[in-house]
């Protein structure tokens, strides 16, 4: 069974917008890969149909069946990690091997406060 992992430098999991993401991707695959890359992306979860966007990618040259590579990715200014009532915006760094789209993932937080933005509850409107 294939194993893919992403480790971030210093075990850091919360990042400020625009910050650099450094880490190491390692993998042990059942077959020789055609390509291996690390992607940083956001996705939505919640009631709506999922949206997702890859914001930066590092493609490794000549990847082996068992390998380890360092990477550097730049985070954009947004969107912030968000935890609303209908929508959540989640960020991850993911190493993906093709064919088969096998992956290893590390969830992160992108926000100025180091925590997902949680809107405060609205005060009750008097009737």
């Amino acid at each position: 069974m294939s194993t893919l992992t992403v480790e971030l430098e210093g075990g850091k999991l919360a990042f400020r917008p625009g910050e650099e993401l450094r880490g190491r991707a390692s993998w042990t695959l059942d077959a020789d890969p055609e390509s291996v890359e690390v992607r940083v992306f956001w996705r939505t979860e919640g009631k709506g149909t999922q949206d997702t966007e890859i914001v930066d990618t590092v493609v490794f040259q000549s990847p082996g069946r068992q390998d380890k590579r360092d990477f550097k990715l730049r985070l954009p200014d947004g969107p912030y990690s968000f935890a609303g009532k209908l929508i959540a915006i989640l960020w991850s760094a993911e190493v993906v091997a093709e064919p088969g789209s096998e992956a290893g993932r590390q969830d992160i937080v992108v926000s100025p406060t180091g925590k997902p933005i949680e809107p405060p509850a609205l005060p009750e409107t008097p009737k």
Partner: protein, 534 residues
């Protein structure tokens, strides 16, 4: 089923193709006349008789074209009598394997396109089976923890293409059906220059066309006139062909033209077999508005899709642009300085609501009309009546909406300007407004900034959008009278969420203005603004 239809169609098409292997020769016309087919069709059929040489002897043929069964227009059959005049020598076709088989013309190869119709069903069926039986992609079987969640999102081009394709169906069908009215209307215009000749009514009937959906009717008046040196016959009453519901109007036309009536008809100077009795525009032509409405909706949708493609799926202020590494964010690229906030023009709102009401009630009206007809003719369509009630209620609400928007169009109208095109989290901007119209009618005014989550999702074949307001920030409140113009500061908290648009999910910030007018529709405006990350 598609395969059965395909087999039947191919069998018919094969007969057509075979005639193209027949030998071309010459035939001498012995006779040719028009006869009326028996039964319900009552079509006018050209019956030729000709002689030809084949297999070392002279033979006789009576086939005009394999598969030909006449025409509803007497003029079409009469034109064939002219073309294949007695004594003339014309080209014809004889089967090489059976010289007894012959024809003056061969079926058009265009008819082979009919094979495409069952092919569509076969393709859908084969596609469905292939989808059902094909092995599922490996990734769907994989553990979600080890399956890649990142994927390239559909490009704006793809989304716009799908939308344009969807609206193209409306446009093409609307345009196609409107041609049934537009082409005869063009002939009406051309016929203004046709020659007026006396004609005599030979037969006069209302023709009934029955099928499983009921009966429709058409005027069938056969008349005789002289043109091109001989007597000719036609049964074209007006250029708009086909049949429709409503027996009484057709009966009135037939009653006004009994057999023996002498009146004026109109003949095409370039083709004496082309004649018409009434060359005006009847009320039926107004039906063209229905397919034109569909074509209009389709065209509007296509234009919208192309504009969407041009601008990309994301507007300049959409926050997903922040997600692009190194872009510097949309805040950097957005134009600085004051920005006029666009609100919908009241006349556009009236026409928008009117269009929606016409579209909805136009479609609903067809079913209501059918339902009323059934009640009138003694039927008891209880199920259809119950089914139609909610649709009719929505239609009435839309009509109410038209009146509401019409009254609201006379309200004082605010023009809104924000001192900056974007407002960062923790920042502020000045909102200015100026009213046009009688502002003294307003008894109070409120402005607030509202942050809302919007989630769009599909359930079955329908798409829904849920909203959840997470912030409501007062900007201005005037409980008494309202000045012609004013301004207020819009302050966005630092610890909230910026604008975001992922396609299906959005975080929307909007300035909402409401002005109360006693016993009248209130002034309400809502304009989106862009809140950027710090």
């Amino acid at each position: 089923m598609g395969c059965i239809f395909l087999a039947l169609t191919v069998q018919g098409s094969w007969r057509t193709i075979k005639t193209y292997s027949w030998e071309r020769t010459t035939c001498r016309m012995l006779d040719g006349f028009v006869t009326r087919a028996g039964g319900e069709s009552g079509d006018y059929e050209f019956r030729p008789r000709y002689s030809y040489e084949a297999g070392g002897r002279t033979r006789e043929g009576t086939t005009y074209k394999p598969g030909y069964s006449g025409s509803s227009q007497a003029g079409d059959a009469e034109a064939l009598v002219t073309r294949y005049a007695k004594g003339s020598v014309v080209p014809c076709y004889v089967s090489g394997s059976d010289p007894e088989k012959s024809a003056l013309e061969r079926p058009s190869l265009w008819a082979l396109l009919v094979v495409l119709f069952p092919l569509v069903f076969v393709a859908v069926g084969v596609g469905g089976l292939a989808f059902t039986w094909s092995p599922k992609p490996k990734e769907s079987e994989a553990d979600p923890q080890t399956r890649a969640l990142s994927r390239k999102s559909a490009s704006p081009m793809q989304a716009a293409g799908c939308l344009a394709a969807f609206f193209s169906v409306f446009f093409l069908f609307g345009l196609g059906f409107s041609l049934f009215f537009v082409l005869p209307a063009l002939k009406v215009v051309k016929a203004r220059a046709w020659r007026e000749v006396p004609c005599t009514v030979l037969e006069s009937n209302v023709r009934t066309h029955s099928d499983s959906d009921g009966s429709t009717y058409s005027v069938d008046i056969l008349y005789e006139y002289e043109a091109g040196g001989r007597m000719r016959r036609s049964n074209r009453y007006e250029f708009l062909g086909g049949s429709s519901g409503g027996h009484a109007p057709k009966e009135a036309i037939v009653a006004a033209n009994p057999p023996g009536t002498r009146r004026s008809c109109y003949v095409n100077p370039d083709n004496p077999d082309d004649a018409v009795m009434y060359r005006g525009l009847s009320k039926t032509y107004w039906v063209v508005l229905v397919p034109l409405l569909f074509a209009g909706v389709g065209l509007g949708g296509i234009i919208f899709a192309f504009r969407m493609r041009k601008g990309g799926a994301r507007k300049p202020g959409d926050a997903t642009s922040f997600a692009r590494a190194g872009s510097g964010g949309a805040a950097a690229s957005a134009p600085a300085g004051p920005m006029q906030l666009k609100t919908a023009h009241p006349v556009a709102r009236v026409f928008g609501m009117l269009f929606l009401a016409l579209f909805w009630n136009g479609i609903t009206g067809v079913f209501v009309w059918q339902m009323v007809k059934q009640w009138q003719t003694g039927g008891k369509p209880y199920f259809l009546t119950c089914f139609m009630v909610p649709f009719v209620l929505v239609g009435l609400l839309l009509i109410f909406g038209v009146f509401y928007q019409f009254l609201a169009a006379f309200n004082p109208r605010p023009s809104l300007t924000l001192s900056s095109s974007t407002v960062p989290l923790g920042g502020s901007a000045t909102l200015s407004w100026t009213f046009t119209g009688s502002v003294s009618r307003l008894s109070g005014m409120k402005v607030h900034l509202e942050g809302t989550e919007e989630a769009r999702y599909r359930r079955g074949t329908s798409t829904y959008t849920d909203h959840e307001t997470f912030a409501k920030i007062p900007v201005f409140e005037s409980p008494g009278g309202v000045a012609q113009s004013g301004s207020a500061e819009v302050r966005v908290p630092a610890d909230t969420m910026h604008s975001f648009s992922g396609g299906n999910n959005r975080i929307v910030w909007a300035l909402k203005l409401s002005g109360e007018i006693p016993k009248w529709p209130d002034v309400t405006e809502s304009v989106e603004i862009e809140v950027t990350p710090k």
